[in-house]
């Protein structure tokens, strides 16, 4: 990808950057620090398994956003990667007793391998057809997992997944400590997504999203780029799915269900398409709400989440985080006008 920046000279320096960019340069480390502090503090305020769920679903939705928000591809079969990684992570941990981060990374790798043929076929279509092809693959995997009960436990799922971690019993048994042991993997997934978006490769993805024919005429192998981002996205979804199955100690057919893909899309839309971090906000709201309603014994969770989805789509097209960002920039602009 280096050729894309050949010849970028001294002309593009911090000194010539627009004021907005300079502001972002100092603000970014601050936001990052705040996000890290929040992530570290989360299990002190929320039941640790729920806190872990927020991060897992958030990372999963980030992987969906990488496709939807930055490449213009709506994958409705991302459960294939979340679920396959959940199973592979479990199988590796049960069969080999490897430390859980290794099992999760192997799960993510397996998801990426599965994504190669899936992506190769799916990126040849766009819009609703892309969504349908990805959904079809996920459903295929669902039925394969159901039939291969010797390996996956079939309808009973894969139960009793251990989380070995160099004999550190607290991490292996306590959800609170496991949260902190798994946090670096979530951060790794977020970093990969962030790096992808903020690289020349990510800029090409935006170009493809905005107008694929134009990108083609500029010499970009549109299908090639789409396959690569699809595989990266699958890997991130795999990390999330692996952490999720390790954290809960089981992987089930539900992880491969279309409803799981739908939930990830819902979280992405809720947080804000194309905002990346909005996915974490959406996940925080949805997972907490689901947990709260379950505790109350309310059974119509789908009615509540469905209503939320409709309200967000109709009234807040940018999602929650996108709307907050817009309001912040508006307020900042007003303040500048008033006080210079």
């Amino acid at each position: 990808m280096s050729e894309h920046l050949v010849g970028t000279s001294h002309l593009e320096t911090a000194a010539t950057a627009a004021p907005e960019r300079r502001e972002r340069a100092w603000a970014r480390p601050l936001y990052l620090l705040l996000a890290l502090l929040l992530a570290c503090a989360l299990p002190w305020f929320i039941y640790p398994p729920i806190a872990l769920d927020i991060l897992c679903w958030g990372l999963f939705a980030i992987s969906v956003d990488l496709l939807l928000g930055y490449t213009g591809l709506l994958s409705f079969g991302h459960a294939a990667f979340w679920g396959s990684s959940a199973y592979i992570t479990g199988i590796v941990a049960i069969e080999t007793g490897m430390p859980f981060p290794v099992a999760i990374l192997l799960g993510a790798l397996a998801a990426m391998v599965i994504a190669v043929p899936t992506g190769w076929l799916a990126v040849r279509s766009t819009g609703i057809y892309f969504a349908m092809v990805t959904l079809a693959f996920a459903q295929m995997l669902y039925f394969v997992a159901n039939r291969a009960s010797g390996l996956t436990g079939g309808e009973n799922g894969l139960q009793g997944i251990p989380r070995p971690f160099f004999g550190m019993e607290l991490i292996e048994t306590e959800a609170f400590y496991f949260y902190y042991a798994a946090l670096p993997l979530i951060i790794l997934g977020c970093f990969i997504a962030w790096r992808t978006v903020h690289s020349p490769f990510g800029r090409v993805l935006l170009a493809i999203r905005d107008n694929p024919a134009r990108a083609r005429a500029l010499g970009f192998d549109v299908e090639g780029y789409k396959i690569v981002v699809f595989v990266i996205s699958a890997g991130i979804a795999g990390v999330a799915g692996g952490v999720f199955s390790s954290g809960h100690g089981f992987a089930s057919l539900n992880d491969l269900m279309w409803t799981t893909s739908g939930k990830a899309v819902l979280i992405t839309v809720l947080g804000g398409i194309g905002t990346l971090w909005g996915a974490m906000v959406g996940s925080g709201i949805l997972v907490t709400l689901e947990d709260y309603l379950t505790t109350l014994g309310f059974e119509g969770i789908g009615i509540v989440t469905g209503t939320m989805f409709i309200v967000i789509v109709l009234l807040f097209r940018r999602g929650i985080w996108g709307s907050v960002q817009q309001a912040w920039h508006w307020a900042l602009g007003k303040a500048r006008l008033r006080w210079g």
């Binding site: 050729e3 894309h4 920046l5 050949v6 010849g7 970028t8 000279s9 002309l11 593009e12 010539t16 950057a17 627009a18 960019r21 020349p200 800029r203 090409v204 935006l206 170009a207 999203r209 905005d210 107008n211 024919a213 134009r214 083609r216 005429a217 500029l218 010499g219 970009f220 192998d221 549109v222």
Partner: protein, 249 residues
């Protein structure tokens, strides 16, 4: 313009060599035939226009040459090599640059990103950023602005600068003067002449025949998907009134 005059303006060894040769190009949109056996050629450092009414097939010719319209028959050669079966991205990498009628600026990217993101396909031919900014000073001023914040003229300049930065040797320009103020059209004309001087060839689709006559060496007249006449610029200028009447402009 007579060929001898053109040859005098070109660097040694580049006289009259065809860069782009299109033979018997036909194109369809479903059942409807948009182009019928269009044949044309563009030589090194030459500016050639495609002139015609709306729906004559001008943009379809450009899109077919770029590889964006695939329902075609005929033959397209670049530097003597058959590129008919190549995809648009491979044609771009072979040196064809595309300046679409909507300018094709990426709104989500800054001017600098719009310029530096596309691959450099020919390092020797590629214009450096310094050279780009020398010829398009407004782009230097606006380099950190997003594409959406540019005026129509600035967008047109960026659209033309981008393939030059890539090192394209054959520019396909669709309606360069459309919707621009006269002073900007004059600037665009100067830029096209500058591009021509550097040895880059230009195939220009243009409805503004007055503008076309100020920048082009030769003209092809298209009507109902066919080339009806091929004229040098001198003849084009002398028959301007007749052509305007013929084209219904």
């Amino acid at each position: 313009m007579p060929e001898t005059t053109l040859s005098e303006q070109l660097p040694a060894g580049q006289t009259g060599t065809p860069v782009l040769e299109v033979s018997d190009l036909s194109a369809w949109y479903g059942e409807a035939q948009a182009l019928r056996n269009v044949s044309l050629e563009v030589r090194v450092g030459e500016v050639v226009t495609l002139v015609g009414r709306n729906g004559a097939g001008k943009s379809t010719t450009l899109r077919s040459v770029m590889g964006l319209h695939r329902h075609i028959s005929g033959n397209i050669r670049l530097d003597g090599q058959d590129i008919t079966s190549r995809t648009a991205e491979r044609r771009a990498r072979a040196g064809i640059g595309w300046v679409p009628d909507d300018r094709g600026i990426y709104a989500s990217l800054t001017v600098m990103e719009n310029l530096t993101l596309p691959p450099v396909v020919d390092r020797d031919a590629a214009w450096s950023l310094e050279r780009i900014f020398e010829h398009f000073p407004v782009l230097h001023t606006r380099r950190n602005f997003p594409g959406t914040k540019l005026s129509g003229g600035e967008q047109q300049m960026l659209a033309m600068a981008r393939p030059l930065r890539m090192g394209a040797k054959m520019l396909l320009v669709d309606e360069a003067s459309e919707g621009l103020a006269p002073v900007i059209v004059t600037q665009i004309g100067d830029i096209i002449r500058e591009i021509k001087k550097s040895g880059v060839s230009v195939l220009l689709v243009e409805q503004n025949v007055n503008f076309a006559s100020t920048v082009a060496d030769r003209h092809y007249l298209l009507a109902e998907g066919e080339v009806v006449e091929s004229l040098g610029n001198d003849e084009f200028q002398s028959r301007l009134e007749e052509l305007l009447h013929h084209l219904g402009m």
